[in-house]
């Protein structure tokens, strides 16, 4: 039994942390936060591409490093810790995994090398309004060659070069790859709870697109894609939650009230202990999800859902109680607590909120039970 990352993967984590702490310290996040016209850090994005991270889980045939999904999980956690303000998840999880999952050889050979080279920024466009998008009731349509409809919100939609669009085709749904330089694309910037990640409304009017997989397979492909993405996002959430706990701990030890550090109060100790418990529950579930992801295990649906549910809860709790631990300081713009609070909510509702994943989890368990 070795339920842990390998030495090599831990080394990667350490190197990634060093790099990100140097290159993506909070000032980089704040540059994006404070500039309404900035949807990401171009400088950091370029460096990440140069490091080859975008090719981590891309096969060597397509110019990638051909490492595995475990390495992606390691990187995701580190990106989550520093709130990296780059379209990494949109490109390396959503777009890359969609293409790997269902793209034709031609599409793979066209897209993946350009992803690795940093020429492509991806985005995933499913949401069309309040509530989780139901493949059966989509308003955006695909007619076999073009897409029409409006997607809102699309994370990184303002800067992406390519979108993976969930659209209705006939009586089913399809996943469609759309080159955003094509005809009929309109983008509108949105203001959201997490201004450190750009968001847009994308409208397509007969925009050319290429189907990923067979017509009508969209719902099931989308489910498979979401399972993969869920594990990676869960690692980002875990990274954020761990950092939030560290921040709370550091502050609680430094801050005095009633003549002693606030960390000495049982209320604060219990709060931090509860963060820790939730984080460890999340970490273990994330590891299991990583294992399932890297081995294409049949347990993938429940492993992904459990990772996602646990990590969403851990990050939410840690981010809100981190503010609370910081008292009035925590409620200022200058202190970083709110950046984690904002990101916690974005990551929790992107690709399906906790309710969606709890339902998926129970459904997976029911199916297993019936089998």
């Amino acid at each position: 039994m070795n339920f842990d990352f390998s030495e090599d993967q831990k080394y990667l984590a350490g190197e990634a942390r060093k790099f990100l702490e140097a290159e993506s310290a909070i000032p980089v996040v704040r540059e994006v936060l404070n500039d309404d016209d900035k949807a990401y850090s171009e400088g950091l994005w370029k460096k990440i591409a140069e490091m080859g991270w975008l090719g981590t889980a891309v096969p060597e045939e397509q110019g990638g490093l051909g490492l595995g999904m475990l390495e992606m999980c390691v990187l995701a956690e580190e990106m989550g810790r520093v709130l990296a303000p780059v379209p990494f998840s949109s490109t390396a999880y959503f777009l890359t995994e969609a293409v790997k999952l269902a793209g034709s050889d031609e599409v793979k050979n066209d897209i993946l090398p350009r992803v690795v080279a940093g020429e492509i920024i991806g985005c995933y466009a499913a949401s069309e309004g309040p509530g989780h998008p139901d493949p059966a009731n989509l308003k955006t349509t695909f007619d076999g060659s073009t897409v029409s409809g409006t997607k809102i919100p699309v994370t990184d939609g303002g800067i992406a070069t390519h979108a993976v669009v969930l659209a209705k085709e006939g009586s089913g749904a399809s996943l469609v790859l759309v080159d955003l330089s094509g005809a009929g694309v309109t983008r509108k910037t949105l203001s959201t709870l997490d201004p450190t990640r750009g968001h847009a409304e994308l409208t397509f009017d007969k925009t050319p697109g290429v189907r990923l997989g067979a017509a009508g397979d969209g719902a099931s492909l989308n489910d498979q894609l979401m399972d993969k993405v869920a594990v990676l996002l869960a690692f980002e959430q875990l990274g954020g939650a761990s950092r939030a706990l560290e921040m709370a701990k550091e502050y609680a030890l430094e801050r005095y009230a009633f003549g002693r550090p606030i960390a000495g109060n049982q209320a604060i100790k219990h709060k931090l202990a509860e963060m820790y418990v939730k984080n460890e529950v999340a970490r273990s579930n994330c590891f299991y999800g990583a294992w399932a992801l890297s081995t294409d295990a049949p347990e993938m649906p429940e492993a992904a859902a459990a990772a996602r549910v646990a990590a969403s809860e851990a990050f939410w709790f840690a981010s809100k109680e981190n503010i609370q631990t910081h008292g009035g300081m925590g409620f200022t713009w200058e202190v970083d607590c709110h950046l984690y609070y904002r990101r916690a909510k974005l990551l929790a509702v992107q690709a399906g909120g906790p309710k969606v994943w709890k339902e998926k989890l129970v459904r997976a368990l029911e199916q297993k039970n019936a089998a």
Binding site: P130, G131, I152, F258, G327, F331, E334, C337, K345, V356
Partner: protein, 399 residues
């Protein structure tokens, strides 16, 4: 036990409702109502209208411009006013906490000078207690007042002062003697916020707004006659303010169970079992708190003083606000993170309140401090170990 209005109460409710209908729009009826621009002017105008019609400060005596009404009338007024778009924010601290402290400890001259003007909405007050190293532990504050002839000279810094940037006066808690244990060396003053030496610097909040401030005092002179209570008795005076604070801030503004229920109904989530269970929890706690307030008011109307039980209010409402907004955002899924008032249901009220909720769990006493108060003062459990109680203030650690 009777929750129905008596005939007199029903008559008052009718009168109040008619007055409100004449002057205000029902809550949420107009998008512009949540617009923050001109908030101050609107609030001043509304306060004046209320005062002129004897609906401001229902329980205050008539001689100070109040209505001289009963505690129950006050409850009824609160219930009715909350159904309308009443711009009361800038006055909550002054009329809820500061001016009552002036009434309790001020001289006749003070009452004459300040009470009526505050009530008419002409002057706004702020509360200058917290400091960089004294928030929960307010009595650990360091701002110094030194006697010089008939004046006191103030030097130091306050922080988190809500509304200081538009306030005319403040109640100011300072240290007049650092050689005695911390609670014994404090004194309370009235301070003119517009005088030289008072510098207000807005703080950018996590929510994005700038509603609270740092306030710096450099050789600010306050005449001894503007002292509230005895020299060294400031803590006793502050406790009266803080008790009123807990009454005043109990009901957090923002969407409640009813609002999210309506939202869920419109968006098909009301049939969801998990949501129904949460809704039930929110309702039960909110209702429990509301009824607890009735019990408090009953005690008040019998001439008893409200106890620290009111501390439950803020714990419940602030946490529920955060929880309700979180649920509403999750209900909207990815769409829920959009923060644009004209694109979102309910003017993005859930998103805006989501960013305010953390502040409400801290302002006016944190959850943890309020729970300590309940444990120690209501339940009589032993006090936390106190390393600072009997030591002279200038020998204490802070950070």
């Amino acid at each position: 036990m009777d929750f129905n209005d008596t005939p007199e109460e029903a008559a008052f409710r009718k009168e109040a409702r008619a007055f409100l209908e004449k002057h205000l729009k029902p809550k949420g009826s107009e998008r512009a109502s949540r617009d923050r621009a001109n908030m101050l002017e609107k609030a001043k105008a509304w306060q004046k209208t209320k005062a002129e019609n004897k609906f401001a400060q229902i329980t205050w005596p008539k001689e100070w411009g109040g209505r001289g009404g009963t505690a129950m009338q006050n409850v009824i007024w609160g219930q009715e006013e909350s159904k309308f778009d009443a711009p009361t924010g800038p006055f909550a601290i002054g009329l809820g906490m500061c001016v009552p402290t002036v009434i309790a400890f001020g001289s006749d001259e003070h009452k004459e000078r300040y009470v009526q003007k505050a009530l008419m909405g002409e002057e706004i007050w702020c509360q200058l207690f917290s400091e960089p190293s004294a928030g929960s532990d307010v009595a650990g504050l360091k701002t110094r007042a030194v006697k010089d002839g008939d004046d006191w000279v103030i030097n130091g810094q306050k922080v988190w002062t809500s509304g200081a940037h538009y306030s005319d006066y403040g109640i100011l808690l300072v240290r007049t003697d650092p050689k005695v244990p911390k609670h014994k060396g404090l004194t309370m003053f009235i301070v003119d916020m517009k005088q030289p030496g008072v510098e207000v610097r807005p703080i950018h909040q996590a929510s994005g707004g700038r509603e609270f401030n740092e306030v710096y005092f450099t050789d600010v002179r306050i005449p001894d006659k503007d002292r509230l209570g005895d020299v060294g008795a400031g803590w006793k005076v502050a406790l009266v303010t803080l008790m009123n604070e807990r009454l005043a801030v109990g009901g957090s503004p923002g969407p409640d169970w009813a609002e999210i229920m309506e939202y869920a109904r419109d968006h098909g989530s009301l049939s969801d079992q998990a949501f129904r269970e949460k809704l039930a929890d929110w309702y039960v706690a909110a209702q429990g708190y509301k009824l607890t307030k009735f019990r408090t008011q009953t005690a008040l109307s019998r001439g008893q003083t409200p106890g620290p039980e009111n501390s439950i209010g803020k714990i419940i409402t602030a946490n529920h606000l955060q929880d309700i907004c979180n649920s509403a955002i999750e209900m909207q899924d990815h769409f829920g993170i959009i923060n644009e008032t004209d694109r979102m249901p309910g003017d993005a009220i859930f998103q805006q309140s989501f960013m305010w909720a953390p502040g409400l769990r801290i302002a006016g006493g944190t959850d943890e401090i309020l729970k300590n108060i309940i444990a120690e003062r209501v339940l009589g459990l032993p006090q936390d170990v106190r390393v600072d109680k009997d030591k002279p203030f200038d020998e204490l650690k802070s950070g």
